[in-house]
């Protein structure tokens, strides 16, 4: 028998072996430098497989349910009692949430707060799951033709699952929050005691609970604190529910995710994009709207053709402009207090559709007199 193997041995296979090993090493390095090397091939395969996956999904899902129901048979009575109790408790919280939401809406209206951005969502179904050692993904049946694009958040009815990292024509690949390549900027809100929010980075490591890397070393967390997306970077909206803080091994903090990617079947792709900020018309700038003009005419006015609306010099950055010109475009907070007027900035109405139809609130001018003027449109949104 051993002769049979020796027959097949050829001494001249050494050279191709070396070349192939070298090629494989080059491929690894190339893949490190350009991680989207195979992306087109991957989405091409999933696009072509999509009809087959949708057909195969039904029996697999049925089998999953049947498999899961075996264990549920023995605990259905206790589960029913627990759910009834939980339902009654949640009804109470529902009423509290409605009251609080109304209150928040009223406060936002009074403070002329910039409203949260509207989110468009695409409903998609999970048609595939891949759980490899180094990558954990879902495949959705929505692609670029459904306006799904890479970077968008994927949520189910409980919370965030992950983000889209590949989009084909008909399918999208989702990188899960538990994937080692997942990094999400999050905000940890204190669950009790009224503590301040803590910024952190949530990193997947293939375990069911991603790790939290705190931005501040002095921040203190407590088990049960709520973890939501922070919105930093502008890729994800602020406030997507993600999970709760739990204590991990060695003093580390981890996040118990609200969503369960293993059982999610129907998900939403949130089409979130921060619109490019548009400057208001020159006449509506706070200084101009208040009727303020530069006290000293800019010296360039004699050499350059005067601009009828502003004192700014076209083609020059603010740093290149004269102090008088800069003062014309300075926010009202930098003006002397005597120059302030109880006028509501125009951008507040323009940016807040809630204010458009709202009756004029009488205390608003008084508030504006006592307090500094509202922040410009690029100010805080919270």
């Amino acid at each position: 028998m051993a002769n049979a193997w020796k027959i097949a041995r050829k001494s001249n296979t050494q050279l191709p072996l070396v070349i192939v090993v070298a090629l494989a090493v080059v491929l690894v390095l190339l893949g490190k430098a350009q991680s989207n090397l195979f992306d087109q091939a991957r989405v091409g395969v999933s696009d072509r497989l999509a009809p087959l996956l949708e057909v195969a999904r039904a029996p697999v899902r049925g089998f999953d349910r049947w498999l899961g129901s075996i264990g549920d048979i023995f605990s259905v009575y206790e589960e029913n009692l627990r759910l009834k109790e939980e339902n009654a408790r949640l009804r109470q919280w529902h009423n509290v949430a409605i009251v609080m939401q109304n209150r928040v809406d009223r406060y936002q209206s009074l403070l002329h707060a910039v409203p949260d951005p509207k989110l468009n969502a695409v409903l998609a179904r999970v048609i595939g799951r891949s759980s490899r050692p180094f990558v954990r993904t879902l495949i959705l049946d929505a692609g670029t033709r459904n306006h799904a694009s890479p970077g968008e958040a994927v949520v189910d009815q409980r919370g965030m699952i992950g983000r889209i990292y590949l989009s084909g024509n008909r399918t999208s690949w989702v990188i899960l929050l538990t994937d080692p390549n997942s990094r999400i900027p999050v905000t940890v809100a204190a669950s009790k005691g009224g503590g301040s929010a803590v910024q952190a980075i949530m990193s997947g490591d293939n375990s069911s609970m991603p790790a939290l890397d705190l931005v501040s070393r002095t921040a203190k967390l407590h088990p049960g604190d709520q973890v939501v997306s922070s919105g930093d970077g502008g890729l994800l909206p602020y406030g997507l529910p993600i999970g709760t803080v739990v204590a991990g091994d060695g003093g580390a903090w981890r996040v118990a995710l609200l969503a369960d990617a293993a059982s999610s079947q129907d998900v939403e792709i949130l089409n979130y994009s921060v619109p490019p900020e548009k400057l208001p018309p020159e006449a509506e700038l706070p200084a101009d709207a208040a009727g303020l003009r530069p006290l000293v005419p800019p010296p360039e006015q004699t050499q350059l053709p005067p601009s009828p609306q502003t004192g700014s010099v076209p083609g020059k950055s603010p740093a290149q402009q004269s102090p008088a010109q800069q003062s014309a475009t300075m926010p009202p907070a930098a003006k002397p207090p005597a120059a302030q007027t109880p006028q509501v900035p125009a951008h507040a109405d323009a940016a807040s559709p809630q204010l458009a139809g709202a009756p004029p609130a009488s205390p608003a001018p008084k508030l504006a007199l006592r307090q500094p003027p509202p922040a410009p449109p690029d100010g805080g949104t919270e």
Binding site: V21, L27, R132, P133, N206
Partner: protein, 178 residues
Amino acid sequence: MALDRGAGHGTAARMVSALVPLLCGLVFAFVANIPISVTAGQVPPPLLALVPVYFWCLVRPDLMTPAAAFAIGLMEDVLSGGPPGVWTLSFVLTYVLVSRQRDSFASLSGLAAVLGFASAAAFCCATAWTIIAILDWRLPPVSPIVGELIMTVLFYAPVALLVGWLHHRLVGALRSDI
């Protein structure tokens, strides 16, 4: 009936037979990476494509060449969604190991043959884990790759039977021609 048993078209049969190991590896890589899981993604799929690489590297290394192992690993990389090149390099290095120790591996039978494949699969998974650790400059979790290794070894016996059947039906008779 083996493809080469018919008289008159030996060359064409040889060409088809020569492609069987490569095609088998590519098809197994495709099947293992179909993103459908009856366990809701809790259990990793096995490295089915490693079985034909191991089997034909022992039985017919002239048909399972290093280039074929490279192509099968590349297919695994493309379909699995992981970092490019990881499985390609792991498959090729496993091929090198098996080809260097061919006589030792080929003399195994029964449970020892399964253990022989398990050692090759462990080398492959350890290589992939090490490459990821070097690329990311941090230690990845061990449990997922161990789960992959266990599943691969569990699936070895039935897949090896299938590969052996394919070998005898399509390739086997050509071995004497070498």
